[in-house]
């Protein structure tokens, strides 16, 4: 899996970080490769598609600031083991949609600050831990002002002797009335794989709509039965279901050029 091919094919344009405004060309999705320390500020009046690509082992600190009413679709891909901190600060009326695919045993911490009213944050993430991987995804969503919305769906697979860990916190400040915050963590354990899931809510406002859920299970027996009834072998059905579980997250990625490559990478990872 190499992002350079997509840049060479003219499907993505390299970006070093800094300010994105109406002077920035947004004809192609922007891609930041292996940032070490990177600050990005989005002030454009058009939606921005941004890819952050991690395939080396260096630490990374990424800050993404959304100006009022900025709209960002962020795709983050982790192909290697590394430590990453991502901080997202959102001003009034801004919208941030994140798709995260973790395939290499990374430790990633997201902290999203909803600082301006009517801002919204959405995350779809998947981690696949195989072999001796230890993948950790931590997500802190801070609702600091009223009328903001967040929705996160995090999916995990752990096989072999791997561990997949999710730590989620939804924090709602006292003044953050009319918060709508949803957080879901769904996991599949295969063989000797192990899942740790710690979803938390910390709520100080009284007029809020918050939910969190966490499941750890095996593959859906009824779906396997359904596929076998169509003539698909048990092994193929299980594999298809597992791929579907992760590729459902890939399908949320808004960069079309990336999706096929990500699906192939997911399949290769599931073979480990």
């Amino acid at each position: 899996m190499d992002i350079k091919n997509l840049i060479a094919e003219g499907l993505l344009q390299p970006f070093k970080g800094g300010r994105i405004d109406d002077a920035t060309s947004l004809a192609l999705p922007l891609v930041v490769e292996n940032p070490h320390k990177c600050d990005i500020e989005v002030c454009a009046s058009q939606p921005v598609s941004l890819v952050v690509w991690h395939d080396n082992a260096k630490e990374c600190a990424l800050t993404l600031r959304l100006a009022p009413h900025a709209v960002v679709a962020l795709t983050e891909v982790y192909a290697s083991a590394k430590y990453v901190d991502v901080r997202i600060e959102q001003a009034e009326g801004s919208e941030c949609r994140v798709t995260t695919i973790m395939l290499g045993g990374a430790h990633t911490s997201y902290e999203t600050l909803l600082q301006g009213s009517h801002s919204s944050f959405k995350m779809d993430a998947a981690y696949v831990a195989a072999g001796f991987d230890h993948s950790v995804l931590s997500l802190v969503t801070r609702h600091l002002v009223a009328d903001c919305k967040s929705a996160s769906v995090i999916k995990g697979v752990a096989s072999g002797k791997a561990t997949g860990e999710f730590k989620g916190l939804v924090f709602v400040a006292q003044d953050a009335q009319r918060t709508d915050a949803q957080q879901t963590n769904r996991n599949i354990e295969l063989g000797g794989g192990r899942i740790v899931s710690e979803p938390q809510l910390e709520i100080y406002a009284d007029d809020v709509k918050c939910s969190h859920g966490s499941t750890v299970g095996q593959l859906d027996e009824q779906a396997i039965y359904y596929m076998r009834q169509r003539g698909i072998s048990k092994e193929s059905a299980e594999r298809l279901l597992l791929e579907g579980f992760v590729e459902d997250v890939v399908s949320k990625c808004e960069v079309e050029a990336l999706r096929e490559m990500l699906n192939e990478a997911v399949q290769a990872k599931l073979n480990e």
Binding site: D220, Y226, Q229, G244, V246, E247, S251
Partner: protein, 250 residues
């Protein structure tokens, strides 16, 4: 085609099918009716090979082969299709991918070459027409976000794709409005040939206005207590099951 003699099935020690005798020949259409909880869906699941049931029978064969020796997928590959009462949603797996794998695994079991991408696409487009299914549906995840009607059309679409010898349709009419019912039922009749057979499990006569059965059977408390021709369905619609049940001595 399908021969069942003295079939018993139980789940968690509770006997649900209590001695079923049932035979289906090529070209026939059978309807199985009966009150809720009489074992209709269990019968369909047992024939399909669902492994949650303990099954015994003097005979349970399909095209002369013992079904009890076969896995779920082997039965399907022999030409047995079950239309699900509650089609299962499979997030992340597109209809096209699902059907491609199913069609090609079935072809492989018959020693046939897999279809090329172009052949497969053409086939999907043709078969989608049978139930007026929007061809765009095939790029969506299996049954995910489908309406009740779309799910049932999708079952018949899959039946068209797999061209089974015997299709057992478990309450394919439930939850359908009149238009969807007409489309689904017409689709089933289009697929009927003298070489294949259909068993419809239903509560309602209205489906049988389209799919005219040669035989109607009433299943009650795990046994077929009465069989007749298509007029039986009309009588049941008018008079309910009481006259039969009262008549029936355990």
């Amino acid at each position: 085609m399908l021969k069942i003699k003295n079939l018993h099935a139980s789940v968690d020690g509770k006997e649900i099918l209590r001695g079923i005798d049932f035979e289906v020949k090529a070209g026939e259409v059978h309807a199985i009716m009966g009150p809720n909880g009489s074992g209709k869906s269990t019968l369909a699941s047992v024939i399909a090979g669902h492994n949650k049931f303990e099954v015994s029978a003097d005979e349970l064969s399909f095209e002369g082969e013992n079904l009890l020796d076969m896995s779920i997928e082997e039965r399907a590959r022999k030409g047995l299709f079950l239309g699900f009462q509650y089609p299962v949603e499979i997030p992340g797996v597109t209809m096209a991918n699902f059907m491609k794998i199913a069609v090609n695994e079935q072809r492989k079991s018959r020693g046939e070459e897999p279809l090329t991408a172009a052949e497969f696409l053409k086939m999907m487009r043709e078969k989608a027409k049978v139930v007026e299914l929007d061809a765009k549906m095939t790029s969506r995840a299996v049954n995910e976000g489908f309406s009740g009607g779309e799910k049932k059309k999708n079952e018949i679409f899959q039946m068209a794709m797999l061209d089974p010898k015997l299709a057992i349709l478990d309450e394919t009419d439930s939850g359908l409005d009149i238009d969807a019912l007409r489309i689904v039922a017409t689709g089933v009749t289009k697929l009927h040939t003298p070489q294949n057979a259909t068993v419809v499990i239903t509560h309602y006569q209205r489906l049988l206005d389209y799919i005219v059965p040669d035989f109607v059977h009433v299943l009650y408390k795990g046994k077929i207590i009465y069989s007749g021709d298509k007029s039986l369905a009309l009588k049941l619609e008018k008079e309910g099951y009481d006259w039969l049940i009262n008549d029936y001595k355990e």
